[in-house]
Amino acid sequence: MQKSVSVKGLSLNFGAVRVLQEMNLDVENGEFLVLLGPSGCGKSTLLNCIAGLLDVSAGQIFISGKNVTWEEPKDRGIGMVFQSYALYPQMSVRKNLSFGLRVAGLPRDEIDERVARASEMLQIEALLDRKPANLSGGQRQRVAIGRALVRDVDVFLFDEPLSNLDAKLRADLRVEIKRLHQRLKNTMIYVTHDQIEAMTLADRIAIMKEGIIQQLDTPHMIYNNPVNLFVAGFIGSPSMNFLEGTLSGGAIDLGDVSVPTERYGFEPGNEKWSGKAILGVRPEHVVVGEGASQQPFFFDAAIEIVEPMGADTVAWTRLGSHSFTFRADAELNLAQGQTVKLGFDAARASLFDAESGIRI
C-alpha cells in the first residue's frame, strides 16, 4: 500500500552540525505518528523538513506518493499547527482561518462553507469575529488547528501544539485532538517532548536522539520492550531502575545480590549472552508487601524517601548498593524508615548490554 509520508535517507546539516542523519521513516495512511525526544534531538527539524520550511541537505520526502522534496509548503498537501499558535494578530479568527483559502483563490461560498465546517468541529463559531489577542490560550490553539483543518489536506503536522498550555487545558485538548483524528482519519505527525502526550495519542512513536530515530514502534512495545538504555530511561516516570551487574548462567549478579533471569524474554540468539549487563526494572512493576514473596525475586528494603503523588506513592530505597525506586498504592501509607518486602519478575524487566546500551 502507498505510504502517506515517506522520508528516505534524509539528512540535514546546519554548517558542521548534523541535525538529521540518514533518516528513513514511513508513515501509513491515517496513522498518528508521534516524534518524541529531548530538546535538540531534531524532531521539530524533521517536521519542518516534511513541511518544506527547511531545505534538506540530502535525501527525499514523499507525501501521498509524490516526491515533494523540492515543492513549496503549500503544494505538499499539509496543514501545520505551531507551538506559539502563530495566529495573524491583525486578522479576526474568520480571516485567520480563511487566509490560506483566499491566497489559493477559492470561491467565496466555498471558503465560507469550509470555515463554517471547521469552526463547528472545533466549537469556535462564537469566536469568529474576535481578534487573537482577545482569545485564551486554549481558544487560540483551537483556531490554529482550525487553520490547518480548513485546508482539507491529507497530512497534519503538529509542532508541540500543547506545550504552551497549562496542565488541565493540555489534557482536555489532548483528548480533543485524539477525537479529531478518529473523526477525520487523516495522517497526523505530532512532535512533542511530553511522553504522556506521546503514549496517549500515538499509533506509533518514533523516539529520537541526536538526529537518529532510536526506536519506532507502538507505545506498548516502546514501554515494555525498549531497544536501548536511552529509550528505557526516557519513557516512564519515575524512570526505570538501572541495576548494573554481570550476567551469566541464568542470573545477573549485582554485586551483593543475584537476580534470576530465567524468565526473561531474551532477544532471539541472545539466550546464552554473558558479561557486563544492566537490569532495568520499572518502578510500577515492583510488587510490594504480601504478594512480593510470590515473585521470582524478592528482598527486604528500608524506605529512604517517600513521594506521595495522590493516586499512588513513589518510594526510594536500595537494592544492595543500588538506588531503587518503586511505585506503590497510596493506601499502604508508606513512611520513611519502614522496611517492606519488594519483589519483581524478570519477565517484565529489561536487560541491556552495559557497553553498547542495546537490549539483550
Partner: protein, 314 residues
C-alpha cells in the same frame, strides 16, 4: 440565613481573613509624597525644565515685540505692544538672499523634498528588513554588515562623489537630487530598525503564512506590515525630523529655486545687510522648528503601542 452554604462560606472567609486586630504594620505600606528622593528628583527636573524653557521664553517674547522695543534691551520683559508682524514678515516677506518672499517658498520646498524621501526610504527599508530576516539569501549577512558599516562613515566624505554622481545622472541642482540623497542616506539606519523589529516577531508566523501559501509580497503586505505600525512610526519620526532639519544636502544639491526651509532660514538670520531684525529671526526660527515639534507631539503615543500582542503566547 437558613441557607447552609451561605453560613459555611462566611465561616470559611473568617478562617482565612481572620480578625484584623494585629499589632504592628499591616495592609499596604504608606507612601508619603515628600521623600528625600522625590524632592531631589523633582528639583533637578524643575531646574532642567527652566534651563531649556528660558531661551524658548525669550524667543517667543522677542518674536512678538516691535524692533524699537527690542532696542530698549529688556529681553526678559513681555511685549508692551503685542504684535504678530514679525511672524507675518518671516513667513511672507523677509529677504532670503535676492528674493524677499519670506520662508514660505522654503517651507513648500521642504515639504516637496520631505514627502517623497520619507515615503520611499521607509518603504524600501521595510522591505529590506523583512527580506533580510525572513528570506535569507547567500551573503545576506555580509550585505547587512556592509549596509550598517555605511552608516558610520561621515556624510561629508560622500559629498563630492555624490555631486559627481548626481551630475552624471543629470539631476544635480534639482529637487530630485536631494530626494535621492536623503533616500540613500536614510537606508542603513532604517533597514537596521526594520530588520531588528521583524527579527523580534515570532518566526512561526512567517512559517504559518508560507504553509498557507502566501508568497514574498503577500506575507509582507498582509501579515508583516499590519504588525509593524510601532516601527513605522519610529522610522517616520526619524526621517521627518532628520530630513526637515537637514542643511548640508539641501544647500549642496537642491539648487537655488529649491532650497529647503533650513537654508532659507540661515539666509534670513545671517543676512549681512541692514540691521538684524531679531523679532523676525526668532519668528522664522520657530516656524522652521514647528514641523518636527508637531510630529513628536502627535506620534509620541504610538511609540509605545504593542501591536504584536496576541500573536504568540499571551
Amino acid at each position: 440565613m437558613s441557607n447552609p452554604t451561605v453560613i459555611s462560606t462566611t465561616v470559611a472567609l473568617d478562617a482565612v481573613s481572620g480578625r484584623t486586630d494585629f499589632a504592628g504594620p499591616q495592609g499596604p505600606r504608606p507612601q508619603p509624597f515628600f521623600t528625600p528622593k522625590r524632592v531631589i528628583i523633582y528639583s533637578i527636573l524643575f531646574v532642567a525644565c527652566l534651563y531649556y524653557l528660558f531661551p524658548m521664553y525669550i524667543m517667543v517674547m522677542t518674536s512678538f515685540k516691535t524692533m524699537p522695543e527690542i532696542r530698549f534691551g529688556n529681553i526678559f520683559a513681555p511685549p508692551v505692544e503685542f504684535t504678530g508682524e514679525a511672524w507675518v514678515k518671516a513667513w511672507s516677506s523677509a529677504c532670503t538672499g535676492l528674493t524677499c518672499q519670506g520662508l514660505s517658498p522654503g517651507f513648500w520646498n521642504s515639504v516637496k523634498i520631505l514627502i517623497p524621501s520619507v515615503l520611499v526610504s521607509t518603504a524600501v527599508a521595510a522591505v529590506n528588513g523583512y527580506a533580510l530576516v525572513n528570506w535569507k539569501f547567500k551573503g545576506s549577512e555580509i550585505f547587512f554588515a556592509v549596509l550598517i558599516f555605511g552608516s558610520f562613515i561621515p556624510y561629508q566624505v560622500f559629498l563630492y562623489p555624490l555631486v559627481m554622481i548626481t551630475r552624471e545622472l543629470k539631476i544635480f541642482g534639482t529637487i530630485w537630487a536631494v530626494i535621492l540623497v536623503h533616500t540613500i542616506f536614510g537606508m542603513p539606519i532604517l533597514t537596521l530598525l526594520f530588520r531588528n523589529y521583524f527579527a523580534s516577531l515570532p518566526v512561526e508566523l512567517f512559517k504559518a503564512a508560507r504553509v498557507d501559501g502566501a508568497g514574498f509580497w503577500r506575507i509582507f503586505l498582509e501579515v508583516m506590515l499590519p504588525m509593524s505600525l510601532p516601527i513605522v512610526v519610529v522610522a517616520l519620526i526619524l526621517q521627518v525630523t532628520g530630513i526637515w532639519n537637514d542643511f548640508l544636502f539641501g544647500a549642496v544639491f537642491a539648487g537655488t529655486p529649491n532650497l529647503p526651509m533650513t537654508v532659507q532660514l540661515n539666509n534670513i538670520v545671517n543676512s549681512a545687510q541692514g540691521t538684524p531684525e531679531y523679532n523676525v529671526n526668532m519668528a522664522a526660527t520657530m516656524l522652521t522648528g514647528l514641523v518636527p515639534l508637531i510630529v513628536y507631539f502627535l506620534s509620541g503615543r504610538l511609540f509605545v503601542r504593542g501591536v504584536a500582542a496576541g500573536a504568540v503566547k499571551g
